[in-house]
């Protein structure tokens, strides 16, 4: 039971003024533009779009600016806006096989058809602070070893589809076929989660789940809490065509491209009397270059498939209800932050009770 906050109106106004001042910082420093955030903090923008469940880099940049770089606050802002938007229809399912690759790696084969492409990655950078970047204008033009950064538009693969690494193992029957489920009609942003959830629903929840939470649980499976022995079968990033079915036209109308990152994990084989040992798989998909999240998602997808493989649920990462009920950071932070609201009445009741219990005990002791 909550007590209404009274007489706080002015206080709130003042707080907002202070907040605006704090957000702006020193007025002598130029204000951030959305273009700057979009261009130079693009990974932050990607994260906000994923967990905000809305692909709009400009709005995500605005949310980041408005939230002073507080990611969960920015995600919250974007979601709160998204919920107001009308829905005009659904896209046709995207085909990541048609992705124009900017990065593609596999950890299971040294080389794969189509090749390994490192692309823009922090993987092999040494994490040494680059004090050059602290000086404002770093002139990249003068860099002697200017690398040719392949972009989506000029990538190696032209029109041909690039086969997934896992399909190579699939042809040999060594890995399970991709689990075909009905594309879920459920949209977790419109209908409440119900347990047990189907896989499509689970993937939706994980796709917009908190990066830190999903990462930590994925990590726990690697440390023995969930029996997951994964190999990164393939990670690919690039532009995927997006099309919409428009009833009047009768065909799918291309509407643009999405930069996406897909991860397919190969997991330790399962086998039984009927089924020979087979690798199983976990799947992760994110917009932008959110590779950390896509990998973590793929690990959790697999660890949550306990029912399919008749596995004992022994750890948090295998417990669908635990994972899905707690992976949403806007929900989580909402409930944690609500502890800041007044609880005077509840606390008063507790105070009264604890005093009475102590008095009772004292009285009993005196007897």
């Amino acid at each position: 039971m909550y007590v209404a906050v009274k007489g706080g109106e002015r206080a709130i106004e003042q707080a907002h003024t202070l907040l605006a001042e704090m957000r702006r910082g020193d007025p002598s420093v130029p204000e951030l533009t959305l273009e700057q955030i979009q261009n130079q903090m693009s990974l932050a923008v990607d994260r906000v779009m994923n967990e905000g469940s809305l692909f709009d880099p400009e709005l995500a940049a605005l949310a980041i600016k408005q939230a002073q770089g507080d990611m969960i606050e920015a995600i919250f802002l974007l979601r709160a806006y998204r919920t107001t938007l009308p829905r005009h229809g659904n896209s046709t399912p995207i085909q990541t096989g048609q992705m124009r690759i900017i990065r593609r790696i596999s950890a299971v084969f040294k080389d794969v058809p189509g090749g390994q492409l490192l692309g823009p990655t922090y993987d092999y950078t040494h994490r040494l602070l680059d004090f050059q970047l602290a000086v404002n204008a770093v002139d990249t033009e003068d860099d002697e070893s200017e690398p040719e950064v392949p972009t989506a538009t000029e990538s190696a693969s032209d029109d041909s589809e690039l086969a997934a690494v896992l399909s190579i193992l699939e042809n040999e029957g060594l890995v399970e076929a991709p689990p075909v489920g009905e594309a879920s009609e459920t949209d977790i942003t419109r209908t409440p989660l119900e347990f047990p959830a189907d896989r499509a629903t689970r993937l939706q929840a994980l796709a917009r789940g908190d990066e830190g939470f999903v990462l930590a649980l994925a990590y726990s499976t690697q440390r023995g809490y969930g029996r997951n022995h994964p190999f990164a079968g393939e990670i690919r990033s690039g532009a995927v065509p997006l099309a919409m079915e428009v009833e009047e036209l009768g065909y799918a109308l291309p509407v643009g491209e999405l930069l996406m990152t897909e991860c397919e994990m190969i997991n330790q084989f399962e086998g039984s009397a009927e089924v020979p040992p087979t690798f199983t798989r976990g799947y992760g998909l994110q917009v932008g270059l959110s590779e950390r999240k896509a990998m973590s998602m793929a690990l959790l997808d697999r660890s949550l498939r306990t029912q399919e493989f008749d596995e004992e649920v022994e750890s948090a990462a295998q417990d669908e209800e635990f994972v899905l009920a707690h992976c949403d950071n806007v929900e989580a932070w909402g409930f944690v932050s609500h502890l800041k609201l007044p609880h005077y009445v509840d606390f008063q009741s507790e105070l009264e009770l604890i005093r009475r219990l102590r008095a009772q005990r004292e009285a009993d002791g005196d007897e």
Partner: protein
């Protein structure tokens, strides 16, 4: 390679190096024992060799010659990255020739060329605890080690045989060191396990994320766990290396086209090249 200013020789400060060396001395004194150490943040992500790098940084000197391999190869991205790191921070000589190296940092392989006395092999270790997948709790696994309660390791092997007719552990195959501690050899293929036994080189293991060091001193017994009626066996291939013709090495499978055609080649690139007479 240009010198990196503002950092100590081999990146770590001398006090940290001494701390790691003390841990290593203890590890050498008690073969196979996991020694906790105050692992530092390194400029590489956890899981990419932070343990191995800290060990190498703690033992490397001016006159050392460093070789770094990943999956047996000198030219894999992570190996290149780590080699460059030390070339930059310690200005030491680097090599791809196994015989020329005084320190070899490795991920997932032991070189095919036999090591000799005086060489040090530094392993990067992701999960140092061999009992981890049976018992996730550290408090319990430490007790199991302390009391030599290792029966449960054989339960895992028993289950493999019951289910697959053979021991189905292909890498990170657990070993008994010096008759006392069960040890994770890091995710090397079991093909490499016999090379650890009575090896003239010093073998050091560093796990950065889990903050553990352990060691196998030169000429120490390292025995792969097995059953009397299901003895330990290493992987074998039907063919030979399609580049150098070796029939006694660990072979990598390379997919060469969309139709799934494969070729098999030595995973140890230096060994393969030197067999082909391409060694500089």
């Amino acid at each position: 390679m240009s010198e990196l200013t503002g950092y100590n020789f081999a990146y770590l400060d001398e006090q940290t190096k001494r701390m790691i060396r003390r841990g290593l001395l203890k590890a050498v004194a008690v073969p196979g024992l996991q020694v906790p150490f105050g692992g530092r943040e390194m400029p590489l992500p956890y899981g990419w060799g932070t343990g191995g790098i800290q060990v190498t940084a703690a033992i490397i000197g001016d006159d050392d010659c460093l070789k770094v391999i990943d999956q047996g190869a000198d030219d894999t991205t992570n190996a290149v990255s780590i080699r460059r790191f030390f070339a930059k921070t310690a200005q030491v000589a680097t090599t791809e020739v196994t015989e020329d190296a005084s320190i070899i940092q490795t991920r997932h392989r032991i070189p095919e060329t036999p090591l000799v006395s005086g060489q040090i092999l530094v392993y990067q270790v992701p999960i140092p605890e061999p009992l981890r997948f049976i018992e996730p709790r550290e408090t319990e696994t430490r007790k199991m080690h302390a009391l030599s309660e290792y029966g449960v390791m054989h339960v895992k092997l028993y289950e493999d045989i019951a289910q697959f007719g053979q021991i189905a552990t292909a890498y990170a195959y657990p070993v008994m060191v010096n008759g006392r501690y069960v040890m994770d050899p890091s995710p090397i293929p079991k093909f490499d396990n016999p090379k650890m036994h009575q090896n003239p080189a010093l073998q050091l293991f560093g796990a950065g994320r889990e903050k553990r060091l352990y060691a196998v001193p030169p000429y120490t017994d390292v025995v792969s766990l097995d059953f009397e009626d299901h003895p330990f066996e290493i992987q074998r291939w039907d063919g030979v290396c399609e580049l150098c013709g070796a029939d006694d090495t660990f072979l990598d499978e390379v997919v060469v086209d969309d139709q799934g055609a494969r070729m098999f080649v030595c995973s140890d690139t230096h060994h393969c090249r030197s067999r082909r007479g391409e060694d500089a």
